[in-house]
């Protein structure tokens, strides 16, 4: 599956997107953030306050307890500031 990052999440991770193979124990959005934040310092910084991070699965907002099993594209980003 594809992971995409925006705004300062993207900057901290250092790339806008990547292809990932999730291990079987990563079941939810929250699991995925915890798993990503163990990859390196950039990811750790991006997710150091997980409660502030928003996620979307296949272009739809998703809660942290949403399942990532069927996802084709998962996005992580800070609270939105459009409008």
């Amino acid at each position: 599956m594809k992971a995409v990052y925006f705004a300062w999440v993207r900057e901290r991770i250092g790339k806008p997107e990547e292809e990932l193979e999730l291990p079987p124990e990563v079941a939810t959005v929250g699991d995925m953030m915890a798993w990503l934040s163990r990859r390196d310092e950039g990811y750790a910084q991006a997710f150091d306050q997980p409660a502030t991070i928003r996620a979307a699965i296949d272009h739809v907002h998703a809660r942290h307890d949403a399942s990532v099993r069927e996802a084709r594209e998962i996005a992580f980003f800070p609270p939105m500031t459009g409008g």
Binding site: F6, A7, H59, F77, M80, G82
Partner: protein, 151 residues
């Protein structure tokens, strides 16, 4: 059938032409409420605003919010435009125009759209300052969450 039309684009738009299109050739519209959101210069401190967005989701999410507005209010027309990219002080960022037979539907739908765009549409603003300072990412406001919560 949906009366909503949504665009996410880099280029500027013409609010008059967009509003005109909602009423052209018909006489059942009694009220049109148009909201234009503009880039403020922050008392001269802002050089330019950079707006990042999530292509695909931005259009889809605004479309979902527009569909919700249509299900709540008897709208005869609805137009939403949100820009991305570089936007200078005084320039337009966002347009919401709602048409209905009576004024309350148009007012409420336009205000609802704006509150939801602020908190649900995947756009992120970064400020570039005149003094070269970082400025940085604009912080989301609790007041925007509260505004969306009232609907």
């Amino acid at each position: 059938m949906s009366v909503a039309s949504v665009s996410v684009q880099a280029q500027d738009f013409d609010p008059a032409a967009e509003t005109e299109r909602l009423t052209a050739g018909r006489a059942d519209v009694g009220a049109v409420v148009t909201f234009a959101g503009l880039c403020r210069d922050e008392a001269g401190a802002l050089e330019v605003l950079e707006i990042e967005y999530y292509p695909g989701m931005a259009e889809a999410e605004i479309g979902r919010v527009a569909a919700e507005a249509e299900s709540r209010w008897p709208l005869l027309g609805l137009r939403v435009i949100h820009r991305h990219g570089l936007i200078r002080p005084g320039e337009r960022i966002v347009l919401v125009a709602a048409a209905s037979a009576h004024r309350s539907a148009a007012f409420e739908a336009a205000a609802f759209l704006m509150d939801y765009l602020k908190t649900r549409a995947p756009f992120w603003k970064r400020e570039r300052r005149v003094d070269g300072g970082a400025g940085g990412w604009v912080q989301a406001k609790d007041t925007d969450e509260a505004a969306a919560g009232r609907w």
